[in-house]
Symmetry: C2
Subunit: 333 residues, 2 copies
């Protein structure tokens, strides 16, 4: 096990991506994103994902050299980006400044990204907007892993949504949650480490409930969180992230297809609201009021708190990387 | 039991409201809203609510004569309305046309309503926007009934969110769901009719799980749907509907206070997106594609289908009103 700095790890991961088919600019953005997830303690969305990036690139499913393009005809409060079959993060990066400016000018703006691949954690997409003092809501669709409430087949994606609120004296409040009972990355990690999952999380290849992570992965499927209500949210994410952006639905990639062997080209939608432009007086004070009340009622940890603590520790003590992971990364170089 | 037409019922309910302290204009809007919920089969949000409207008016907590005011300084893509301690529906009605025009002009717009009282179903708020060919997302906070995940006290509201998508040849797809495991109106109705509720829905006055609806109402509390994920959504609704609009949080009305005896003054936020202005090609066709796929996967009923069927039956056969309800309504005249 080695303790590494953020920059050291970004350097290695960036080199891996460049060596395996990414442009240098895209590799810098995606390596920074990937190591940020690792830094914040999201094992399922950090270095664990490097092999998926590499397999996506090698299969030719994703264009690592894609140059995302801003749509010059976007409406006044919209920023539309064509990711051109690249990863979502460079497209989002391109949209960021115009989207912030539009939200500040008109009170609200929206980013649509089409034809993209999103392998990372969603809170990293919304945090920069909250740092720019905007409220942000983001939705991403993925690949078909989730059986809708009342259905028999996995036609919906794990479809995360993220929500970020700026605070005056604290880091932003951020939640990021899959619309499935558990994120697929977490289940993949549980399978790899031989852990079981809670009941209600998934079914096996025969549609029977199971707590064996590997059985969910081997032809099984996930269930939405919270029954029919979570299922409705999963569908909402498909409509926002895919239908509204002009991207593929999750089900338009067959679940039997191996990862990376066929293009996904799904979408992302981000809504930005500027509290200063919509008549919210004392917004920061009011956010503090309700969060203080939650803590007083017995809530021990606000959404995103643990990630922030992990980040502080990683930045002061270094990021712990296992020998096996280092060997994997070196193997890609 | 009597079968009545929509207009007959609106006439009666409107008269009840006027007799008990509403302006004629407000009474027309709210009676139409209330009877629409009854027509669509939402027993918990239809005529059942008339007595709550009346008690709110009689206590002086709500101003039945309030004239909502549009904020003349709203940003380009925002419509802000001060409900002036009236019910939310007249404020929303006032915002509707400018909000639709702003969404069509800039691709996205937002409505904020502050200092309002919302006793009705939320899908009725979003449906007109979907009929105007916009995608709509709405959030309302309420009174403290829900214990946050990890907390000990009911500090959050039942906080519904609604989502509506226009369709080309079908009625809009609409879901409307409380962020609690069950809507309070449904539990009140269960208590009134002596039914029990599922486990996981609520706790009694001692914080112990219960399936007795009356025990949840008598000093008990509700739980969020879907564990910590539903709890995060409940908090998100507080932040969107209250902090961003400049309204009270749900907890700022004590849960021990009898309904209607103290002002609530909560808020509502609606996000509108025009599919035609954000580069979504073939939007209607794409919506059909995923809904057809859901049905093919075994889903029997899409969100909002049952309400639409109830509406069609009510409009052709009449709305069934019990003798007891008729007596209640007549008692208020």
């Amino acid at each position: 096990m080695a303790l590494m700095t953020f920059d050291e790890l970004v350097h290695i991961v960036r080199s891996v991506f460049v060596r395996n088919g990414m442009s240098d600019g895209n590799a810098m953005i995606i390596a920074t994103n990937c190591v940020s997830a690792e830094r914040d303690g999201a094992a399922s969305h950090g270095l664990f994902r490097v092999s998926q990036y590499v397999s996506s690139l090698k299969s030719g499913a994703v264009d690592g050299h894609a140059k995302p393009a801003l749509d010059p005809d976007s409406a006044a409060s919209v920023v539309s980006v064509d990711a051109r079959n690249g990863f979502a993060q460079p497209a989002l990066e391109l949209s960021r400044q115009p989207a912030i400016e539009k939200a500040r000018a008109a009170g609200v703006s929206i980013v649509t990204i089409r034809d993209s691949h999103h392998l990372s954690a969603l809170w990293l997409d919304v945090e920069p907007f909250a740092r720019a003092k905007l409220v942000a809501l983001a939705f991403v669709n993925s690949i078909p892993r989730v059986v809708p409430w009342g259905g028999q087949e996995p036609v919906l994606g794990t479809n995360p949504m993220a929500f970020a609120v700026p605070r005056e004296h604290e880091p932003p409040l951020i939640f990021d949650q899959a619309s499935s009972a558990m994120a697929f990355g977490e289940i993949a990690l549980a399978a790899k480490t031989g852990h079981s999952v809670s009941s209600g999380v998934g079914v096996d290849r025969h549609g029977q409930p199971t707590t064996i992570a590997q059985a969910i992965i081997d032809g099984g499927a996930l269930l939405p969180f919270g029954g029919h209500k979570g299922s409705a949210i999963t569908l909402m994410v498909e409509l926002l992230a895919a239908a509204l952006t002009g991207s593929n639905f999750s089900f338009e990639v067959g679940s039997s297809v191996a990862p990376g062997t066929r293009t996904v080209r799904t979408g992302e939608l981000v809504i930005l609201i500027d509290p200063r432009r919509i008549g919210a007086s004392n917004f920061y004070q009011r956010v503090d009021v309700i969060l203080d009340k939650l803590m007083a009622s017995g809530v021990k940890r606000l959404p995103g708190n643990r990630r922030h603590q992990n980040r502080m520790r990683s930045l002061s003590e270094g990021i712990a990387v296992s020998d096996a992971m280092l060997a994997t990364l070196n193997g890609y170089l």
